[in-house]
Structure formats: structure tokens, C-alpha cells
């Protein structure tokens, strides 16, 4: 299915060849109850192309050993591949230095690393941390925990009913007690792309470091950490065609150097005696224990794959998918879109009048259409819009306009069933 040309634009030579791309993803060939899989849950997790699968297999078959330890061939091969992936990621983010790239278990782990390593060391009683109204729980709860421990205060950037942050109110939150900002680049529930460049500059006017949760942005938008000038940038491998169990924390070297370690263990030390341990240099100071070696190498391969397609082209194509889906759903009666920011990534949250999102999800599943129904780990966002949950379709570069047509057809069926 869906092997017809997707883009009819004159510059289609420049555009993505979706049919060719889809052939790279074995899972997209699956059928359920005879119906082709239409996977529109990419904001939760994306699928893996064959080159990444092949890289994982090759690593396990030919290169696996522990890294940074032995002098034998395999350990050297594994270490070389692991560190090569780090350089790939450095290039992808345009970081200055590979020491600024830390492997973690995922975005949540990256944020917790900063909370422990920076927050617990440099934030104290009466200090304030700014987050926004559209954060994922993973960028709320760690800061709440820190506030409880340190008797610090959480301040929230409000948003309007389109799901856009109010920048004047953001600027007004700063004062001499403000010690940290943690902010999503793209909202997972609403799709809003926050103007983070400007918001980072605002924080820096107050000399406040800022962490960007890039879980929903890194797979879909070009990210240049030097241009953005963010202090920390966090994302996950599995949302960008890589494996689960690996994520990245980018941090400015100067900040990472003065932070305390997150976890203690092997590989994060230079020397250990019972009296004193000397910590390793960055990034290893933050990589205690045997890291997710295969997953890290897989993430490197996934990023190579995305770079091969072209992040700008991915972004342009996904914008086209979003615009088409937005227009099609808006044309239906009885549909409310949740999250109508001017600048959005390819996430479409919606409500069907009189039908709970979980019923929508179950019935669409019968049509082979996989969407997410729930609160998307963003309960404060749900509260803002006065809904317990939403249905959410989220697109990737391997989705097609024909798949959006199938989504719309499925929604019509739901409406008919509940009429």
C-alpha cells in the first residue's frame, strides 16, 4: 500500500522518496487482521529502518565486548564504534566537543542527571526553577522532587488556548532567585514548537542556565546547540529510529565539569581507594557502569540514516503531512483539535464530540490505524484544555497522505458508530 508518489511538487527530486523509504522499514509491511499497519504513534516511539537493525546485528555478531576496559581486539572494536557514534551525535547537534555528549538511558534519565548533577549542587532553599505549562511529566516531576528536597519553588510559564507559551509572562517570571529553566522544545501532547532560541536568550540575560527537552524535536527539526546556545539538550534514541534504552544529554563542557556525578560506579572514576575516589573526566564522569553499547551504536546508525535523508527535508515533508491532516480533520464535523499553535511539529491531538479517546483508539485499531489515546504524560496540559485525555496522531517521514486519508476514514466510522 501507499507506494504511490506522495509529493506532487515540482521540486519532487528534492523531496523524500517515501515509497523507497518505507521499504527500509520492515515493520511497516506488517498487516493486522489483513489490514496494513498505519502507524501514527511516532511521538511515543518511532520505527527502526533496516540499516539500523543491520548495524545492531553486526555489532552483536562481530564487535561486542565491554568498552573502555580491555586491550583485546573486540573491546577495541566496541570502544571505537561506541565513540564513533558519540562523534556522529556531536556532529548532528553541532556541539563543540565530543566530551559534551553523554550517553544516558533516555530523555528522562538525561533530565534526572541534570537535576542531580546540577540541581542538587547549585539550587537551594528559596531558589526558583522555571518550567512551562506544556511539559511532559518527565520535565516536571524531577524538578518537583528537587524543589521538595531543597525547599525551592517551581514557577510555571503559562500558555494560551492554542497551546503557545506566553513569552511576556515568561520574561516576568525571572528574578534574582531564579536558578534554572527547564523547557520542552516541542510539546508531545500539542505539537507546539516553542521559540526556544529567544527563550534561551531571555534566561541568559539573567545568567540562568536552561535545559531543553528535545525528545519530540530532535527527530523532526534541525538542532544546532551552538546556535541555540542552550546549556543542556536532552533526547531519546527510540523516538528517532534508534533503539530503546539509550538517550543523550548534551551539556556545555564548563557546566558539566563543575557538576557532581549522577551515579557512582565503574568507568566514572580515575582512581578509587577507600579514603577517596577521583572522578573521571567528562563525559565518562556521568557514564557509570557498562553503558548501553549496542543501543548507542544503533543510535549513531539511526542518526546517520536521518542525516542521509536530510533533516530539513524530513521537517518540510512532515509539515506537509501535518498541514494536510489538520485541513482534513478540520473539515470534519464534531472534531476539536487540541493544540493549534502557529508553529507546530507533526502532532495532532483531537477530540471527537461525545466519544472518549480510548474508544476512538480501540475502534481505529480495527482499521489498522495505531494512534495514542490518553493523557500523554502531560496531565497539566489535559487540565488546561479541560479534557481527561485526547486522541493523538503523530507523524513521521515514512507516513503518507494516503495514511492520513485512512485516519480520516476511521474517524468517520467512529462517528457513525456513536451517532
Amino acid at each position: 500500500m501507499s507506494t504511490q508518489p506522495i509529493l506532487n511538487k515540482k521540486d519532487s527530486a528534492q523531496a523524500l522518496d517515501t515509497a523507497c523509504i518505507r521499504a527500509d522499514f520492515p515493520i511497516l509491511q506488517r498487516r493486522f487482521d489483513g489490514k496494513p499497519l498505519i502507524y501514527l504513534d511516532n511521538a511515543a516511539s518511532s520505527q527502526m529502518p533496516q540499516p539500523v537493525i543491520d548495524r545492531l546485528v553486526r555489532y552483536q555478531r562481530e564487535e561486542h565486548a565491554n568498552v573502555h576496559r580491555a586491550v583485546h581486539h573486540l573491546s577495541e572494536l566496541a570502544t571505537a564504534a561506541y565513540e564513533q557514534a558519540r562523534r556522529t551525535i556531536m556532529g548532528f547537534l553541532n556541539a563543540r566537543d565530543e566530551r559534551e555528549i553523554i550517553y544516558t538511558r533516555g530523555t528522562t534519565d538525561s533530565i534526572n542527571l541534570v537535576m542531580h548533577g546540577y540541581g542538587r549542587a547549585f539550587i537551594g532553599a528559596g531558589d526558583e526553577i522555571i518550567i512551562s505549562a506544556l511539559e511532559h511529566h518527565s520535565n516536571i516531576v524531577p524538578w518537583q522532587m528537587l524543589c521538595q528536597e531543597k525547599n525551592a519553588k517551581l514557577r510555571i510559564i503559562p500558555m494560551n488556548d492554542a497551546g503557545e507559551l506566553l513569552l511576556d509572562e515568561y520574561a516576568a517570571l525571572f528574578n534574582e532567585r531564579t536558578k534554572f529553566v527547564a523547557l520542552a522544545h516541542v510539546s508531545n501532547a500539542l505539537g507546539t514548537i516553542n521559540p526556544i532560541r529567544e527563550m534561551i536568550a531571555t534566561a541568559h540575560k539573567w545568567n540562568v542556565p536552561i535545559l531543553i527537552d528535545g525528545a519530540q524535536a530532535a527527530p523532526h527539526l534541525p538542532v544546532d546547540v551552538q546556535d541555540l546556545d542552550c546549556d543542556f539538550y536532552a533526547f531519546s534514541g527510540h523516538k528517532m529510529c534508534g533503539p530503546t534504552g539509550v538517550g543523550i544529554l548534551y551539556g556545555k563542557a564548563a557546566l558539566l565539569e563543575k557538576m557532581q556525578p549522577y551515579q557512582g560506579g565503574g568507568d566514572m572514576i580515575l582512581s578509587v581507594t577507600f579514603e577517596k575516589t577521583v572522578y573521571n573526566t567528562i563525559p565518562y564522569k556521568f557514564e557509570a557502569g557498562t553503558p548501553p553499547i549496542a543501543a548507542a551504536i544503533g543510535l549513531g546508525a539511526a542518526i546517520d540514516y536521518l542525516i542521509g535523508l536530510g533533516i530539513e527535508r524530513i521537517a518540510a515533508y512532515e509539515t506537509e503531512l501535518l498541514n494536510y491532516a489538520t485541513a482534513e480533520l478540520s473539515a470534519l464535523k464534531g472534531i476539536t483539535l487540541i493544540g493549534t499553535a502557529k508553529h507546530k511539529a507533526a502532532v495532532l491531538s483531537f477530540e471527537i464530540d461525545g466519544v472518549h479517546p480510548h474508544d476512538v483508539g480501540t475502534i481505529l485499531n480495527d482499521e489498522g490505524v495505531a494512534i495514542r489515546a490518553g493523557h500523554h504524560c502531560a496531565q497539566p496540559v489535559m487540565k488546561h484544555f479541560g479534557v481527561p485525555a485526547t486522541a493523538r496522531a503523530s507523524f513521521a517521514f515514512y507516513n503518507t497522505l494516503a495514511e492520513i486519508d485512512a485516519l480520516v476514514e476511521g474517524i468517520r466510522k467512529v462517528q457513525k458508530m456513536f451517532a
Binding site: H356, H358, T362, A373, G374, M417
Partner: protein, 161 residues
């Protein structure tokens, strides 16, 4: 399984026109049920006299499965003794979790067996069970029933199923 088999007329009808919807003024038992994962929330009010359910009503928001389950539960337990209702709680839970085959094993569920197909939709089992869980809570004087934590319906409450 196909959800069409589950979303039968009877379930869609109870979702659209829930029976015993509201709150009793003269209730002597009350319990709340909450599924924080999807926001399903129901409040049950009952009038129990001499161990018999004289009246029952429910209120709340939820998906079609939860609402229909609550609606059909109220029509089924009204007039029954607490003991008979508790038996239905057990049987309904057993059916929804695939431990009771309504085709081959004896039960008292009657039309409630339209929910049989829920066992093939693990992510929706909680939706169907919530009202029953809440009913049990009303009998045992737990103020709030939840589908999460210690009150996880898949592993706790009402004895062995």
C-alpha cells in the same frame, strides 16, 4: 478480536442512554472509582436495606465501555442482595480477565456477558471493571476505589477469582 464485536448495540445504547444515571438523595452507601490513566471517574450511590440493594445510581465521566458497564451493572444488581452482587463482581472480573469462559462455565452474568470480548483488549479491561470495583468498595466501606496501586483490580479485591 474485533472491537465491533464488543461495541455491540447494547453497549452503545447504554453509553448513549445510561440507566440509573444520577445520585440518590437517600443513599446510605457511596463510593468513588477512578482510573487515573484515562480519567474515567464514577461515583456510585446506593440504598442498602437489610443487605438488599433497594436503589443504585451512578454519575461520572468515562469511555463508552466504562459507562455502559456501569449502566448495565446498576440494572443488574438493583433488587439483589449484597452477597448476590458480590458474586457478580467476582464473575464479571473473572470474565473480563479471561478466567471465566462464559460459553462453557456456569455463571450468573446473563446479558453482562456482552463484555466477554474485553478480555482480548487488555488495555481496556480496567475500563469495564472500574464500576464493579467501585461497587465492591461501596460494600466494604472503602471511600475511593482506584484502578492503580494497591487497588489494582487485576491483582486484588474480592477474594479468589
Amino acid at each position: 478480536m474485533h472491537s465491533k464485536q464488543l461495541y455491540q448495540e447494547v453497549i452503545l445504547d447504554h453509553n448513549k442512554k445510561p440507566r440509573n444515571f444520577g445520585a440518590l438523595d437517600d443513599a446510605n452507601r457511596r463510593a468513588e472509582g477512578h482510573n487515573p490513566l484515562c480519567g474515567d471517574h464514577i461515583t456510585l450511590t446506593l440504598r442498602v436495606q437489610d443487605e438488599r440493594i433497594e436503589a443504585i445510581a451512578f454519575q461520572g465521566v468515562g469511555c463508552a465501555i466504562c459507562k455502559a458497564s456501569a449502566s448495565m451493572m446498576t440494572t443488574n444488581v438493583k433488587g439483589k442482595t449484597v452477597q448476590e452482587a458480590e458474586l457478580l463482581v467476582q464473575e464479571f472480573r473473572a470474565m473480563a480477565t479471561g478466567k471465566l469462559d462464559t460459553q462453557t462455565q456456569p455463571h450468573h452474568l446473563g446479558r453482562l456477558s456482552v463484555f466477554d470480548g474485553i478480555k482480548d483488549l487488555p488495555s481496556r479491561v480496567k475500563c469495564a471493571i472500574l464500576p464493579w470495583h467501585t461497587l465492591h468498595a461501596a460494600f466494604t466501606a472503602e471511600a475511593v476505589a482506584s484502578t492503580e496501586g494497591d487497588a489494582e483490580p487485576m491483582k486484588s479485591i474480592v477474594g479468589n477469582v
